[in-house]
């Protein structure tokens, strides 16, 4: 019985796999992206906004990359989140996504993916960012 059950299991992300925290308030977008990245072998933590993302990071959970939407409802948006991360967790790599064409200055040293973004391209970029971890 356990052998049959074991064969139903799809490969799970290695515990040593890079951890990507995805902060995105639009649930269907978040689900599509996180499913793709999980299937690609990353460990994914999901946050529906900046305050949840800050909570996760503050708890001590390991995060290697933050992928955040720029505009999110609530107290903070993606840019403030990224600024907080740069101050408090400087080792976390940051990637932005935005549906707006003109969003002004983004945090220095980060990349922006305009929506709708190509999932393979996002995956490829994150792999580059964490290449030194693997």
């Amino acid at each position: 019985m356990s052998a049959m059950k074991q064969s139903c299991r799809e490969p799970e992300a290695d515990l040593r796999a890079p951890v990507v925290l995805v902060a995105e308030d639009e649930i269907l977008i978040r689900i599509t992206l996180t499913q793709h990245l999980r299937n690609a072998g990353f460990r994914i933590i999901e946050a529906s906004g900046a305050s949840e993302a800050i909570g996760i990071l503050s708890s001590g959970e390991r995060v290697d990359v933050l992928f955040t939407d720029v505009r999110m409802p609530g107290d903070s948006d993606g840019i403030r989140l990224a600024q907080w991360v740069k101050q408090n967790h400087p080792g976390v790599r940051i990637v932005f996504a935005s549906g707006e064409k003109n969003i002004g200055e983004i945090v220095h040293g980060t990349r922006l993916f305009p929506k709708p973004y190509d999932l393979e391209e996002v995956e490829s970029y994150i792999r580059e960012l964490v290449a030194d971890l693997e």
Binding site: I31, E46, A47, S59, G60, L119
Partner: protein, 138 residues
């Protein structure tokens, strides 16, 4: 291939899908991870509107794990709406993380894999995250 904002990929065949509806991000993350370890596909939602968005997108859901403290105080209405409009979904309403962890354990008992650890470990992990304990290296 660019994502679509309205369509959703069908879930892989033979893998049950659990929608975890939990407003507490720590509980949601830990419960979702626990259920994934048990072999389920898991979708995470933090609010009633998000639950409805997922259901209305056509995404197949087999189990809904619904915390009674979900935002808007609307969990009972939501549970009723799901039972009326999506009758094939098993709805489990829970109160508190201990009960959520216990129910996740029961789901895992019926799932594709034996559960990897005791639900009490789920509770402890959620509590540790809430306390914001950092690993010794920080």
């Amino acid at each position: 291939m660019p994502y679509s904002e309205t369509k959703y990929r069908p879930s892989p065949a033979n893998r049950e899908v659990v929608l975890v509806a939990e407003p507490d991000v720590f509980a949601r993350v830990v419960l979702a991870e626990y259920l994934r370890e048990c072999g389920f596909e898991v979708i995470e939602a933090g609010s009633a509107p998000d639950v409805l968005t997922v259901l209305r997108s056509g995404q197949e859901i087999d189990i809904l794990l619904l915390d009674a403290q979900l935002s808007d105080g609307s969990c009972f209405n939501l549970a009723r709406e799901v039972r009326e409009n999506y009758p094939r979904i098993d709805v489990f309403l829970t109160f508190g993380i201990a009960r959520s962890a216990e129910k996740a354990g029961e789901i895992c008992d019926d799932g594709p894999l034996y559960r990897p650890y005791h639900p009490q470990e789920v509770v402890r992990r959620i509590q540790r995250l809430r306390r914001g304990l950092k690993p010794p290296s920080d």
